[in-house]
Amino acid sequence: MSKGEVVLLDCWASPFCLRAKIALAEKGVEYEARAENLFGGKKVPVLLHDGKPLCESTIIVNYIDETWPSPPLLPSCAFERAKARFWSDFIDKKYATYGKARARSPAKNEFIEILKQLEGALGEKDFFGGDSFGFVDVIAIPLTCWFYAVEEFGGFKVENECPKFSAWMNKCMQRETVARILPDPEKVYEFVIMLRNMFGIE
C-alpha cells in the first residue's frame, strides 16, 4: 500500500485539510501530518508526496484517488465522474461566495437553498455517488462541522429544514474514518466565536 513518503501540511479547523485526511484514511495511506498555524500565512492543505508538493484540496483528493486507486472515490463511468466534478465544483463555488465572509454566517434562506439543491443531487441515494461513500461525500462532509455554528447564529436546525441532507450527514458520520477525523462541532463553534471576536463581527 505504501508508495513513497506522504506528508500533509495541515490545520485542524480547516475543512479543506479534513478532505485530504479523510481521503488518505479511506485509502489506508500512512502519512505524517504537520500542523501549521492557521494565521501563519501558509496555505493549507499541501500534500507532499516524495517531496513533490500539491495544493488545492479537491485536486489533492483527486490525486490521492488516482495514485492509490483502491477503494475508488470517483466512479468509473465518465458521465458519473462528470456529475461528481460538477457537484464538487458547485460546493466550492458556494463556499467561495459565503465562506470568505470571515466567519459571518450566510443568510438562512440562501444556506437552506444550497442544501436543498444538494438534496436534489442526492435523490434517493445513500451517498452522492450511489451506494458507496465517494468523491463528493469527501468534498462535502468536512464543511458540515461548521454547521453547528451556522445553526446557533441563525437560530435553526438543519435536521428540521433539510432532513434528507441531515440523514446523509449521519450516514457519513457512521464511517469510522469520518467519525475519527472530523473535529467536535462544539470545538469548531468556539473557534468561530473566536474568529468573530477577532474580526469584530457581531
Binding site: 495544493c55 485536486i59 483527486n62 488516482e66 465518465a78 458521465f79 465522474r81 462528470a82 466534478r85 460538477f86
Partner: protein, 221 residues
C-alpha cells in the same frame, strides 16, 4: 456512437473551448443555438442548477460547466490526441491551472461589464492573473501541456484570445507583448495549431459585436 449535441451561443469563449476539444478529438456533433434572453425549456431541463451554456449532451445525457465538459471529452475519447498528461502528478498540476483559469479568468469577463472604480479593480485582477501565468504557468514549454496543446491551453486560449477583443471594446490595454513575452509567444503557437486556426472567430467581427454590447451595458449602468 451515441449522438453528441452542443448547446451554446455564438462567440462564447466557454463554448469555443468545447468546440476545440471536440474538433481536436474528431468527434462529430450538432450545434444547438440557444437564446439566453429567452432560455429554452430544453436548456433549463439540462442545466437546472446554473441555467447556463455550454451544455454537452451525449446520448441524451447532459454535462455542464465547460471545464467539466472538457475532462469528460478527454475521458470518453482518450486517444487522438491525449489532452492531459499521462501521470497523476502532472495531471494534478494541469487541474491546478484549469482551476486557476476558472477562478481568476472571471476578472476578464467582469472587466467587460464594469466601469469606473469597478473597472479599475477588475483590470488589476486580470493583470495579476496574467502575471502569475506568465511567471509560473508555462516555464520554457511551448504549450502548457508540453510539446502539444492540452486542456489547460484550451482554458487559457479562450481567456486570452477574448481578452484581446474585450480590451479594445472597453478601450484599455493590458496584454502587452513586452510585459508578457511568454504568453504572447504561446498565443501565436496556439493560434497556429491547425484545428484551432480553423476554429477561431474573427477578432474584427467580434469587436463590432462586443463594442455594441459594451455600449448597451455602459448606457444601462
Amino acid at each position: 456512437m451515441a449522438e453528441v449535441k452542443l448547446h451554446g451561443t455564438l462567440l462564447s469563449p466557454f463554448v469555443y473551448r468545447v468546440i476545440w476539444a471536440l474538433k481536436l478529438k474528431g468527434v462529430p456533433y450538432e450545434f444547438v443555438s440557444e437564446d439566453l434572453s429567452n432560455k429554452s425549456a430544453l436548456l433549463l431541463k439540462y442545466n437546472p442548477v446554473h441555467k447556463k451554456i455550454p451544455v454537452l449532451v451525449h446520448g441524451g445525457k447532459p454535462v455542464c460547466e465547460s471545464m467539466v465538459i472538457l475532462q469528460y471529452i478527454e475521458e470518453t475519447w482518450p486517444q487522438n490526441p491525449s489532452l492531459m498528461p499521462n501521470n497523476p502528478y502532472d495531471r494534478a498540476h494541469a487541474r491546478f491551472w484549469i482551476k486557476f483559469a476558472e477562478d481568476k479568468g472571471v476578472a476578464v469577463w467582469k472587466m467587460f461589464r464594469s466601469t469606473g472604480q469597478e473597472l479599475q479593480n477588475t483590470m488589476k485582477e486580470a493583470l495579476e492573473m496574467l502575471q502569475t501565468v506568465e511567471e509560473h504557468g508555462l516555464g520554457e514549454k511551448k504549450f502548457f501541456n508540453g510539446d502539444n496543446i492540452g486542456l489547460v491551453d484550451l482554458a487559457f486560449g479562450s481567456i486570452v484570445y477574448w481578452l484581446q477583443v474585450i480590451e479594445d471594446a472597453v478601450g484599455v490595454k493590458l496584454f502587452e507583448s513586452h510585459k508578457f513575452p511568454r504568453l504572447h509567444a504561446w498565443l501565436e503557437n496556439f493560434k497556429q495549431v491547425p484545428i484551432i486556426e480553423e476554429n477561431l472567430p474573427n477578432q474584427d467581427e467580434m469587436l463590432v459585436v462586443f463594442k455594441r454590447r459594451r455600449e448597451q451595458l455602459v448606457a444601462s449602468a
